[in-house]
């Protein structure tokens, strides 16, 4: 009886590990929502909806826990309006888009944003603007170096 119980327990454990392992391996290529065309469409929508913000693409920003370091480092920059969103930042972990709320009358210091995101452990790629309704991308200096 004990042997049967042990065998069933072991079989259940192996099946759970195998199922979760297969799911993890299949997800290793990332989320389909993170594709460039999906991100671009989301960026256009966000820039049309939100005022006084800087919108940027941060590689690796896939979980709210990732955002803690971003909030620690970016949230303390002098041009960030920490009263908006969550300590001045809003992020979409599917598209890895980071919205930085700006204080009225302030411009984002792109070099400071670049350094702060790197210090948080992530890789800033580019920031966006809308020109005549079209999305324009501006690579960060650290991303250019990586290329």
């Amino acid at each position: 009886m004990n042997l049967i119980k042990k065998s069933v327990e072991s079989w259940v454990a192996v099946m759970i590990v195998a199922t979760l392992g297969a799911a993890a391996v299949s997800a290793a290529d990332g989320d389909p929502d993170a594709k460039q065309e999906v991100r671009d469409a989301a960026a256009i929508k966000l820039l049309k909806e939100r005022k006084d913000v800087t919108l940027m693409y941060v590689k690796g920003l896939v979980c709210p826990s990732c955002a803690i370091g971003i909030r620690v480092k970016v949230g303390k920059l002098p041009f960030v309006d920490s009263t908006r969103y969550k300590r001045g930042l809003d992020m979409d972990t599917k598209t890895q888009l980071l919205t930085v709320a700006l204080l009225p009358g302030f411009q984002a210091d792109v070099a400071s944003l670049d350094k702060a995101v790197n210090d948080a452990g992530y890789d800033p790629v580019e920031w966006y603007s809308l020109e005549a309704g079209k999305l324009k991308t501006h690579p960060f200096a650290s991303a250019k170096k990586l290329k």
Partner: protein, 271 residues
């Protein structure tokens, strides 16, 4: 009878499974100059005394209640320093008295500390982020002497390797470690595999995991333990984790307790 007495004399007093997880919650901090503290309340109960694959004494239990004080400092994303200091609140085990009965042994007090220097190579990709880890470790003997020892008061050196990644929904953590100790304490080889599913209720961050650990000691001891865990962050600073692991396979190279369960409640703060 002589063989059983010999086995009793050669008992390995601690069947402790060293967790491969690092503070805080094996996740943070990843940012420069980040630091954190973690407190873990652990309760473990073993049901039988085992020798090899056999139950030598059924119903001879061991109950261990521990507190773990842990901390971490991150210089930058590639290097951090961690410490783990266990404290035995109470430990009690039943042993055969040789006359068909039992006697009870106890332990309490500070345990052996572990220092580690995780060196990490992070990668950030479209929809996926992760790291490779190389982790030198040092065991520092601080434990006192009692009826028996949960911690052996021996120096040890270890090396850990890890690979992990996460996406918006999934987390994958794998690691391997090797420990060698002074004196006759057997060396330990461990493997762990954690698989997690992430969800976000009420704008918080949660994760359910299935964790599997395998430990091999060079005296022939093998333990495979696995079970569910739940992680939740109250806010950016405070994090909680619940964990239950069951021994699915237990083989003791010398007479020792086995066939158990362990429960952990962790509370971490990070800045």
């Amino acid at each position: 009878m002589m063989a059983r007495k010999a086995a009793l004399l050669g008992v390995v007093l601690s069947s402790w499974v060293v967790s491969a997880d690092e503070p805080i919650m094996n996740m943070m901090p990843r940012w420069d100059n980040g630091w954190g503290l973690q407190l873990i309340d652990e309760y473990r109960r073993e049901s039988d005394l085992l020798l090899g694959d056999e139950t030598a004494y059924s119903g001879f239990t061991e109950d261990v209640h521990l507190l773990h004080f842990q901390g971490v400092y991150t210089w930058d994303r590639s290097i951090r320093l961690t410490y783990k200091l266990p404290y035995v609140l109470s430990a009690r085990r039943e042993m055969p008295d040789g006359l068909g009965g039992k006697y009870v042994e106890r332990d309490n007090g500070i345990g052996d500390a572990t220092l580690a220097l995780p060196l990490k190579k992070y990668f950030n990709l479209d929809g996926r982020s992760g790291s490779w880890t190389l982790k030198p470790m040092l065991r520092v003997p601080l434990a006192g002497e009692d009826d028996y020892e949960i911690y052996d008061n021996k120096w040890g050196g270890g090396l850990g390797l890890g690979y992990e990644f996460e996406t918006h929904r999934l987390a994958f953590v794998s690691s391997a470690s090797y420990w060698d100790f002074e004196g006759d304490k057997p060396s330990e080889t461990g493997f762990s595999l954690d698989l997690g599913y992430k969800f976000y209720p009420l704008e918080t961050n949660s994760q359910i995991l299935w964790e599997t650990d395998f430990l091999y000691k060079d005296n022939g001891t093998e333990t495979l333990l696995a079970g569910p865990a739940f992680y939740w962050n109250f806010n950016d600073t405070t994090h909680m984790r619940l964990e239950w692991k069951h021994d699915f396979h237990d083989r003791q190279g010398t007479l020792d307790h086995g066939n158990g369960d362990r429960f952990l409640l962790s509370l971490g703060i990070v800045f």
